[in-house]
């Protein structure tokens, strides 16, 4: 698997390229399931849960800028994330794992701290921030709410946003985006003021 191929996958994630993402999902699924069943004795349903979580964490790490390039094959990355998810569930006793082919050192080894933090400790903070943004979007109204949602939630290209919102070109979209972000910040400041 070439570096070019890895870069194409990361680009597909950054651009929310549904077709490429679906192809990526389908092409790695079989291997991931076989790996899960062979090493951890999971059922297909359990493998499905872990596979979806692993894909979601890959997506999170790329879109947040934590993962800029892949030094290994994408499937190796997914399996590594999958292993961390299982180890974390094993430690928090959420899941009993029938370890078949995993050396015991791996079971007690150190996980990637970033991944674990993402899975458990930041959940509550992210939920709060999600509710904050939902609230801000409802306060700011349209067209800012639609524009920001298209760009930051749906991951649409500015050209597509220009087309959807009837703006002259993507330059206008970029300007409006900065203006709308500034406006969001002002709402936060306004609401933080004591009455």
């Amino acid at each position: 698997m070439s570096e070019k191929h890895n870069e194409q996958i990361l680009e597909a994630i950054r651009n929310n390229d549904r077709r490429a993402l679906q192809q990526f999902y389908n092409s790695n699924r079989e291997f991931f399931f076989a790996w899960c069943i062979k090493n951890y004795g999971l059922t297909k349903e359990e493998c499905g849960e872990v596979y979806q979580q692993a894909n979601l964490i890959l997506y999170r790490n790329v879109t947040s800028g934590k993962l800029i390039e892949l030094s290994s094959k994408p499937i190796t990355y997914l399996c590594s994330v999958g292993k961390n998810i299982l180890m974390q569930q094993f430690r928090s006793k959420k899941r009993h794992i029938n370890v078949i082919n995993v050396p015991i050192e791996e079971m007690v080894g150190e996980e990637d701290p970033v991944l674990l933090e993402d899975i458990e400790e930041e959940k509550e903070r992210r939920e709060q921030n999600k509710q904050l943004v939902k609230h801000l979007l409802s306060k700011i109204g349209n067209p800012c709410a639609s524009l920001l949602e298209m760009i930051f939630v749906k991951g649409m290209h500015p050209e597509a946003v220009a087309s959807a919102l009837n703006y002259k070109n993507e330059g206008v979209v970029r300007k409006k985006k900065s203006y709308c972000l500034k406006h969001l910040r002002e709402i936060v400041q306004e609401e933080a003021k004591p009455n």
Binding site: L21, L56, R126, K130, V133, L165, S178
Partner: protein
């Protein structure tokens, strides 16, 4: 540096796109301007919240990928040639499996998943629309939406149709094809309440072209949110209408409810 330029830098920082010259400018500003540092921190929950919402969307997309993968696995299997004795065993096993599946389906609560599918009749109309050239902006938006619908990218379809309705309400609110597509796309994304809002517009209209489609989807939307009594009312109407394209399906679902 203007306030807007600073916001652009902050956005690039929080979305992991800070490179080269921009990265240098960012670091220099952090050192020189304490207010800038405060601003960077203030935007963090906003970008974090956006990322959380984006992930929520992607989790739905992953579930769609899984559903489509499983459907493909069931439909892609080619013919298998076996000896006659093997055939009997297979037939007996299949009969047992069929009865088990039937029993399971009759008692399974998710009727919605059994019956919901993007309509073929809408699909045919989309092909006709695709052929149009020299389109206005309103038509272009609709075309983008219908293309996304055919590609099963329901989220983009919803986005384009919302844009269509916001920018051209006088056309879009009477465009019952667009409304029924929006309703189905919303249903496909699990937004049943929103789907009901949209489908109601089609059902209440004088134009009957898409009413049958809307009625069927409306029944499924009510099943999806657990309002079975409402669904039954609609299904009874459909099942009693001679020539309704969903008459047979409505009877099947009524038996299952």
């Amino acid at each position: 540096m203007s306030k807007i330029d600073k916001i652009k830098l902050i956005e690039a920082y929080h979305t992991g796109q800070l490179k080269g010259q921009a990265k240098n400018s960012f670091n220099r500003l952090l050192q020189e301007d304490p207010n800038f540092e405060t601003e960077v921190a203030a935007y963090e929950p906003i970008f974090d919240g956006f990322n959380a919402l984006r992930e929520e969307e992607y989790a739905l997309t992953l579930q769609e990928f899984e559903n489509e993968y499983q459907i493909d696995q069931h439909t892609d299997k080619g013919p298998i040639i076996r000896s006659l004795r093997q055939f009997y065993y297979v037939a007996a096993a299949a009969a047992v499996l069929f009865l088990s599946v039937l029993a399971y389906q009759l008692t399974h609560p998710s009727l919605f998943n059994q019956h919901f599918a993007a309509s073929e009749s809408i699909g045919m109309a989309l092909n006709a629309h695709r052929a149009a050239n020299d389109v206005s902006h309103a038509e272009k938006l609709k075309k983008e939406a219908l293309n996304a619908y055919q590609d099963k990218d329901y989220e983009s379809c919803i986005t384009y149709l919302n844009g269509y309705r916001q920018n051209f309400p006088e056309i879009a609110n009477k465009d019952y094809q667009a409304l029924v597509v929006l309703g189905v796309a919303r249903l496909a994304r699990g937004k049943a309440e929103k789907a009901i809002e949209t489908l109601t517009l089609v059902m209440d209209s004088r134009d009957s072209t898409y009413r049958q489609e809307a009625e069927w989807m409306m029944a499924l939307a009510h099943i999806k949110i657990g309002k079975e009594a409402e669904a039954k009312k609609i299904l009874n109407v459909i099942s009693q209408k001679e020539g309704h394209i969903y008459q047979q399906k409505a009877l099947t679902v009524l038996e299952q409810l």
